[in-house]
Every structure is written in structure tokens, then in C-alpha cells.
Amino acid sequence: MKMNIVEAKNVTLAYKNYLALKDVSFNIKKGTVLGILGESGVGKTTLLSLIVGLIKPSSGRILLNLDKTKIGFSFQTPSFFDELTVEENIEYFGKLFGLSKTELARNKKFLLGFLELKDYSKKIAKELSGGMRKRLDVILSLLNDPELIILDEPVGELDPFLREKVNELISIYNKKGATIVLTSHYLSDLMDVCEEFIILKDKSVIFSGSFEELLSKLDVNYKTQIVLENERDVELFKTIFRYNESLSVRNKVIFLHKDKPLFYKLLLHFIKKNNIKVKEIKVTSPELRDLFLDLVSNKERSLKPDKAEEENKSDVDKKEQTLA
């Protein structure tokens, strides 16, 4: 059993009248790649800052089972000196981290080469493009071979190729034993690299676990996409089983469902009855993005509670009342 490198217990963060995070509890296992999902402004970066120790919680606690200096991070805003060159920034922070010349040279060579910044190593940081800046920030976050790597939107401004490179880098460091916590709007990327996920909604953690656990909790096995000939027919589908508006765009209607035969029986019946002209019907496995959008944007959507959760529910209610 993997040990927890981070343990967050009932963490609440409030500032004046603003509640940033509400009673958040989760554990991050050592050596895991964890993705944090949530809408913009839900508190993902705040949560990462709490883990790094840049923000102190108002209540609750975050335990780090590692030396604080063994954390590497890259937040949305790059943390380096704009007036220094790429190389100078690397060397400066390398020395601040106390790396030996050899370690520094080795890491610098590897990271610059891997993230294709070698040709720009003499360039002043402020002259770099957004993607390059992001890459430099990622390099700095990995420079000291950290045990815990926090990456906030690491591929935000990168082209698909470099996104792949970063994802690969994440895998490399993970293989080296590092625990990685990251956020990204590219949910497919998260799906590729993350073993576990935390989903935030309304300032709280609504899910923490693997993708399979998420599927199980959402009670979903399939994703059916129907492309309609007539866009106005979309409205008709709103009435039927688990239609998700946020997943549906223009003439596309997407359904997430568990049982295949029953669903299709109902669906075909509905199409026939309403004389809806269908261009295409595609059945796939649901992706993380689908589940996330379904979970986050659908107000009525709720997870199937665990037994333990059910038991704890009354306690949580009590705690909320106390906080209120």
C-alpha cells in the first residue's frame, strides 16, 4: 500500500466574506499522478497553493510527508525572472536549490533538450513566447528532482506536440518516483497521464479517485452521440433519459448511460415516434471530459454515494452547520 505524501483534512479557506474552499479532504498517494478538475475559479490553483504551502488554510490541515524543499511547482503564472535568460534562470534557481554543478548541468541539459528550449537558452525570458515561458517554468519546477511536482495548467499554451512532450515528461518523473499533481483544461491529456482525479465543484471536492471509480459513481458505461439532420429536433431530446445539455452542441445530442440494450430500445422508439431524422449514431466509451461536464455542469447530477460517505454525510452536514 502506497503511503500518502499529502493528506488534507477538512481544509477550509476563507478570506473575509469570501469562501475559497469548503471542508476539503483528500489524500495523495506517493508516486501517483493526480489530476484536479474543476470549473475556472472553483479553487484548483488555490488547492495547489495550499499543497505547496504558499497559502495557509483557515481551518483544517494539510500534512506533507516530505521535505518542503523537495516540492517543484509550476503555476499558471510562470515563476522566474523575466530579465534573465533561460539558462540564467535555470542556473540561478539550480544554485538556490543547492544543486551541485554536475546535477545542475545534467538536469539543465536534459530538460532544455527535452522541452526543446535549448536553442533559446540565451534568450531573455521576457522575450519568450507564452509556450516557451510555460516550458521554462516547467523546467524550473523539475530542476531539483522534486518528490512532489505541482503543475497548474502545464500545457495551457503549448502546441499539441509539446503537450505530448510535457505529458511524457510527467510520466518520466513519475517513473522516477515523483508524485505529480496537475490541473489542465485538456481533460483528454489528464486522462492519459493521471491515475487518480479530484473533482472540485462549488468549492468542495465532490470526487476523489480513479476514472473507473468515477464511472462507477456516475453509473455510466456508454456514451451515445446522435447527429441530427435538423437542429431544432434537439429540443425533443431534452425530455428523454439523462440528456446532457452541456455535452450537446448544435445538432449533436449526447447521452451517457449504463445499459446499452434498454437505452437503444428507448432511443429508437423515441426517434421513430417523433419522426426525427438522424444522420449518425455513434456509441463510444465515455471520456473523462464527458463525465466531468456531466458532473459539473448538470445541477441535477449527483454521484452515487459510497457507504462510508453515506455514513459520514450526517457528520459533514453537522460540520457545515458549524462552519456556517
Partner: protein, 666 residues
């Protein structure tokens, strides 16, 4: 740690040098200051001062005063009224106003005045103007005073001569008075021995009168008796004669009768004589009586006279005594006068300075510089150097701290094993390096402009003192930078602290103008000490040993500030993180509020972007339809984006821009 500090210094220097403005400021500021002041003040010892003047009528004296001012390179401007002249000072048209009374003359009957109006708001200039005006007035007044003293001295000399002369007369007067006094004494002895008292009864005038009467009586009685006897004798003779005749003896008759007749004739003549004598005696007795009576009257008169004499004698004695006393007093006066005259003479003799110039100006007042220099630049150099070091130290250190803190990189600094104090030390040494660099530039650039002997020998002392003073300001700058939330706040606080240090450094207003107790405190001002050091080294050519106390005070500041920085470092880190928390928490709050404000557009745009990202995912090999679809979605997203407020637009810009680039690439 040294390696890390060296890295921090290297980084800070790079940061400063790569900011064109900062490097320009660092390199050019000292050169600029020194060059401008040097060129402007080289060989310049005078100030260009304009003085306004007004008088109802300018006397010779006032004209002379004005020409004196003009000869001192002062531009004199004439005004039609006193108020105009004052107003001109107020608006800065002239530096001072001099008002002469129309009766500004030396003569005693005139009460002339010179009134100065000086603008004290030009604090430093006010003293120069005041000095200039008063020096001119003093010069003028000295000349007048010298003339007056000349007159006075000639009078004194004349008096001295007269006193000499009169001193002999005074001796004569004393001698005469002595004589007079002895006369009075003699007179007194004479008068005092007089006894104008006589018992006139002793004269027994009544006895004399009685005797005279008795004599008269007895004389007349005798005479009568004799006459009677003579008559009896005559009768007897007649009887004899008859008898003889009766005897008829002729012979007898002849012999006796003529004799008897003779005798009878004699008796008759005797009788007549007696009668005559009696008459005479009576007359004489009458005369004697009259004489006695006169004598009595005379004695009475004499008695009166004697009384009067006595009274007079008494009065005379009184007067003589008074006279004697007066003579004594007079003598005393004479002695006193003689003494005074002697003293006056002595005093006059003691006046060994009889030159009017010497009296009008008993000693030559000469204000000389302790150094042979008079160039303003030389005198200003310590101040310029102190201010430059103050500002460079404060501004560079606080700016570097702010650059560090405001940079997102500082978050990474905090999470490295390197402690923040090491970074602060790096900033400290970087700033010190810059200050020393500027100091050297200043010294090199000022050297040809000033005439300071052994300039480069003093350089080493000044360098050492800079190494003591500058760190104090650097540490203050680091504390300011660490305390301030923003660069603006840091700059304002830096200016404020610099201002306070300058105000209480004696550079603007002399510390001697403050209460004594306060002065002692103000003399601990590090800027005062810094200025003191440079002044001692460059102007007074003092050795370091002469300023040991001040050096120790500055070192105490240095140690105190350094300890404060170490103690406060953790607090600063906490404050930084607390501010970071606030910032981090405010950011989503704004987003959330924006989101609420644009909730529909926000949701639509998020959805569209997710869709676009999904389509443009590198895993997907895009068909033409997908590309068209992506373009259509992008345009739709763009339309929504344009409806958003500025802040929300910023939030979406990067993502939208990236999608745009991706689409363009397709």
C-alpha cells in the same frame, strides 16, 4: 552560502543592467550630478542676488550703501514704494528689499534707519543675502564710525592737554586754599583772643562825675573862700591903710600905703584871677561834666559797640569756622578733583589706541575658510556625495527587494532551501557594489573639477566611510522594500524616509536651530553622520581618528539594522505569503463575480472552448468537416468573447488566441 550569495548578486546585477532605465540611472546618475554641479559651480564663489530698494529720497549715505552693494555684484532694482518692494520679494522677483529712510544722515537730529526685508523661505540663501546686506551696511557704518571716532579722539586729545594745563592751576588752587585756610586759622586765633567784653562800671564815670562836681564844688568853694579871704584881706588892708593913714606917718604911709595898695591891687587881680579861674573851673568843670557826660555816652556807645563787636566776633568766629570748614571742603574737593583729573589723565594716558580705524574696528574680523577652497562645488561635494549615496542605497536596495517580491519568481525563492536572508544579503551586497561603483565614478569625475589637495589620498578615507555609511542606508532600503506591499508604496516610503533623513540632517535647516536635547538625537541621523564624514574628509582634511565617535555611531546603526533585518525576515516572508494568499483569493473572487455578471456568455464560451479543444486535440486527425466545424465554433466563441467585459476577456484571451493559432495553422 557564499556561492548562493554570489549568484544572487549576479542575478540582481543582471536584472538591473538589463532594465535599460535602471542601468542608465545607475551609470549616469552620479556622472550627471557631478558634471552638472561641477560645470555649473566651477570657480563660482558668488551668488547672483537681486536686491530691491526704496526710499522717499536717497541721501548720500543710502546712495553710498547702494553703490557698495553694487560693487559686491548685487543687482539693485529701484521701486516706487515700500510695498511694491516687499511684494517683489514675496513673488521672488528680488531676493531682498532694502528701505532707506529719507533722513538717513549721520547727524544726531536725524533718526534714519535702514530696513531689510528678507525672504526666509529661501532658507540657505536668506543667510547669504542677510550676510551680504549686513556686510555692506557694516562696511558703510564702519567708515562713518571711523570718522566720528576721529572727531572724538581729537576732542579727547584736546581735553588731555587742557587737563594737563589745569592740573597746575589746581595745585595753585590747593596752595591758595591752604593759605586761605591758614589765614582763617590766624584770623580765628586773632578773633578768638579778642574779648570785647569790658565792665564799664569799672570806669566809675559817676564817681568821675561826682569827683568832677566835687572838684568843681570844692574848687569854686576854695576859690570863693579864697576870694572871700582875699576880700577880707582887702578889707583888712583897707583897715590897715586907714590905720596907717591914721598914723599919719607919711613915711610909713609912703612906704606902706603903696604896698598896701599894691597888695590890694594884687588881691583884686587875685580875686579877678580867682573869679576868672572859678569861671574857668566852672567852665572847665562844665566842660568836664560835658566831657564826662560825653564820655558816658561814649562809653555807652562803646558798650553798644562792644556788644556789637562781640556779636560780630561771634559771627566772625562762626564765619571763620565756616570759612575754615569750607576751605577744608574746598581742599577736599580740590583733592577729589585732582584725583579725578589724575584718573582722567591716567585713563587718557592709558588709551594707547588712538587710531580711529583701530577703535572703529578694534580687531579685524576676517571670515576665512578652514580650507583654502572657496569654490562652491568643493563645499557642496560632501552634500552631493551624501545625498547620492543615500538615494542610490535606498532606491536600489528597496527596488531590488520589490523586484524580487513582485516577481512571481520570489515564490520559487521561498520554496528553495535557500533562506530569504541569503537573498537579502545578496541584495545588500549588490547595492553596496553599485554604490561603490557610483562612488568611484563620482570621485573620478569630480577630481578635475575641485581643487582639493591630496584628493586621491582622501579617497581611501572616503571609501572606508562609504563602506560604513552606505550599508546603513541599504539596510533601511531593504527594510522599506520588505515592508512595502507594492513598488509604488516602496517608492513613496523610500522618498518619505529620505526626506525625513534630509530634513533632520542639517543640510536644509541647521541642527543648531533645534532644541538642544533634540539636537543630540538628530546628530545620530545616519545621513547627518554620512555628510559629517565627507565634510571632514574633503573640506576639513580630518583624519579618521577625529571622527571615531561618529564612526562608532554609524556602525551601531549598521549592527542594529542588520539584527532587525534578521529578526524580521521570517515576518516578512509570512507577510509576503499572506499577501500572496489575499491576491490568490481575490483573483477567483473577481472571476466569480465576473462570471456572475456574464454568466450566460461565460458558460457558453467555456463550453465552446472545451468543444474546440476537444476537436483540436492532437489525438484527432481532423477531417475537413471537423476543421469547418472548429472554425464555426471559433467564430461563435469570438462573438461571445466580444460581448464580455475586459477582465473576463483577459481570462479567455490566451486560450482563444491559442485556438486561433491552431486554426490558422490548419
Amino acid at each position: 552560502m557564499i556561492r548562493t550569495i554570489f549568484e544572487v548578486i549576479k542575478k540582481d546585477l543582471k536584472l538591473l543592467m538589463r532594465s535599460k532605465f535602471s542601468s542608465l540611472v545607475i551609470l549616469l546618475t552620479p556622472l550627471l550630478i557631478i558634471l552638472i554641479t561641477g560645470v555649473a559651480l566651477e570657480n563660482q564663489t558668488n551668488f547672483y542676488i537681486t536686491v530691491g530698494t526704496y526710499s522717499q529720497s536717497y541721501s548720500h549715505l543710502s546712495k553710498s550703501y547702494i553703490s557698495n552693494l553694487e560693487s559686491n555684484s548685487v543687482i539693485v532694482e529701484y521701486f516706487d514704494s515700500e510695498q511694491e518692494c516687499i511684494d517683489a520679494v514675496k513673488i521672488g522677483k528680488v531676493h531682498a528689499c532694502v528701505v532707506f529712510s529719507p533722513d538717513l544722515r549721520i547727524e544726531e537730529k536725524y533718526n534714519g534707519f535702514i530696513r531689510f526685508y528678507v525672504d526666509y523661505s529661501h532658507l540657505n540663501l536668506a543667510w547669504i543675502i542677510k550676510d551680504l546686506l549686513f556686510t555692506s551696511a557694516e562696511q558703510e557704518s564702519k567708515e562713518i564710525s571711523q570718522n566720528l571716532i576721529d572727531d572724538l579722539i581729537s576732542v579727547v586729545e584736546l581735553t588731555n592737554e587742557n587737563v594737563d594745563k589745569e592740573k597746575a592751576e589746581l595745585t595753585n588752587l590747593a596752595t591758595s586754599n591752604d593759605k586761605l585756610s591758614s589765614i582763617f586759622s590766624t584770623l580765628y586765633s586773632y578773633i578768638s583772643v579778642l574779648h570785647p567784653e569790658y565792665d564799664l562800671s569799672k570806669l566809675k564815670i559817676s564817681d568821675l562825675s561826682d569827683a568832677a562836681s566835687s572838684l568843681k564844688l570844692k574848687s569854686t568853694g576854695v576859690i570863693s573862700l579864697a576870694s572871700n579871704k582875699l576880700s577880707e584881706l582887702s578889707s583888712s588892708l583897707d583897715s590897715l591903710k586907714s590905720t596907717i593913714s591914721a598914723m599919719n606917718n607919711s613915711e610909713v604911709e609912703a612906704t606902706l600905703l603903696p604896698k598896701i595898695d599894691q597888695m590890694k591891687a594884687d588881691i583884686v587881680s587875685y580875686q579877678q584871677l580867682l573869679t576868672s579861674n572859678k569861671n574857668s573851673i566852672e567852665s572847665e568843670a562844665g566842660a568836664l561834666e560835658s566831657y564826662i557826660s560825653n564820655l558816658k555816652s561814649a562809653i555807652d556807645e562803646l558798650s553798644q559797640i562792644l556788644n556789637q563787636v562781640k556779636i560780630s566776633q561771634e559771627k566772625s568766629i562762626e564765619y571763620v569756622n565756616d570759612g575754615k570748614q569750607e576751605a577744608v571742603n574746598l581742599l577736599n574737593y580740590i583733592f577729589s578733583l585732582q584725583k579725578s583729573i589724575n584718573e582722567i589723565e591716567k585713563k587718557i594716558d592709558e588709551i594707547n589706541i588712538l587710531s580711529s580705524g583701530k577703535i572703529a574696528e578694534p580687531f579685524k574680523t576676517e571670515i576665512k575658510s578652514v580650507t583654502p577652497e572657496k569654490q562652491s562645488i568643493t563645499l557642496l561635494f560632501p552634500i552631493i556625495l551624501s545625498l547620492m549615496i543615500l538615494f542610490v542605497s535606498l532606491v536600489v536596495s528597496s527596488t531590488l527587494v520589490q523586484m524580487e517580491k513582485q516577481s512571481e519568481a520570489h515564490i520559487r525563492n521561498i520554496t528553495t532551501p535557500t533562506k530569504t536572508i541569503v537573498i537579502s544579503l545578496g541584495i545588500f551586497l549588490t547595492t553596496l557594489f553599485i554604490v561603490l561603483f557610483q562612488f568611484i565614478i563620482s570621485m573620478i569625475s569630480i577630481a578635475p573639477l575641485v581643487n582639493i589637495p591630496n584628493f586621491f589620498l582622501r579617497f581611501s578615507s572616503a571609501l572606508l566611510l562609504t563602506l560604513i555609511s552606505s550599508p546603513v542606508f541599504i539596510l533601511i532600503g531593504i527594510l522599506i522594500g520588505s515592508l512595502s506591499k507594492s513598488e509604488q508604496g516602496s517608492l513613496i516610503l523610500t522618498i518619505l524616509v529620505a526626506l525625513l533623513l534630509i530634513i533632520f540632517s542639517g543640510m536644509i535647516y541647521p541642527l543648531e536651530g533645534f532644541p538642544r536635547g533634540f539636537q543630540m538625537v538628530l546628530k545620530l541621523n545616519p545621513l547627518y553622520l554620512s555628510n559629517y564624514f565627507y565634510n571632514q574628509v574633503f573640506v576639513k582634511d580630518a583624519a579618521l581618528s577625529q571622527m571615531l565617535l561618529q564612526i562608532l555611531t554609524q556602525i551601531c546603526w549598521l549592527i542594529g539594522l542588520f539584527i532587525s533585518l534578521i529578526l524580521l525576515q521570517d515576518l516578512f516572508d509570512e507577510k509576503f505569503l499572506s499577501r500572496h494568499t489575499t491576491k490568490a483569493l481575490h483573483r477567483p473572487k473577481k472571476k466569480a463575480s465576473n462570471k456572475r455578471a456574464n454568466s450566460q456568455e461565460y458558460a457558453k464560451l467555456t463550453k465552446l472552448l472545451l468543444e474546440l479543444n476537444h476537436i483540436l486535440s492532437p489525438k484527432n486527425k481532423l477531417t475537413k468537416d471537423q476543421v469547418d466545424e472548429a472554425k464555426r465554433l471559433y467564430l461563435e466563441a469570438l462573438a461571445i468573447y466580444q460581448k464580455l467585459d475586459k477582465r473576463t476577456k483577459e481570462e479567455f484571451f490566451d486560450e482563444l488566441n491559442l485556438i486561433h493559432k491552431k486554426l490558422s495553422a490548419l
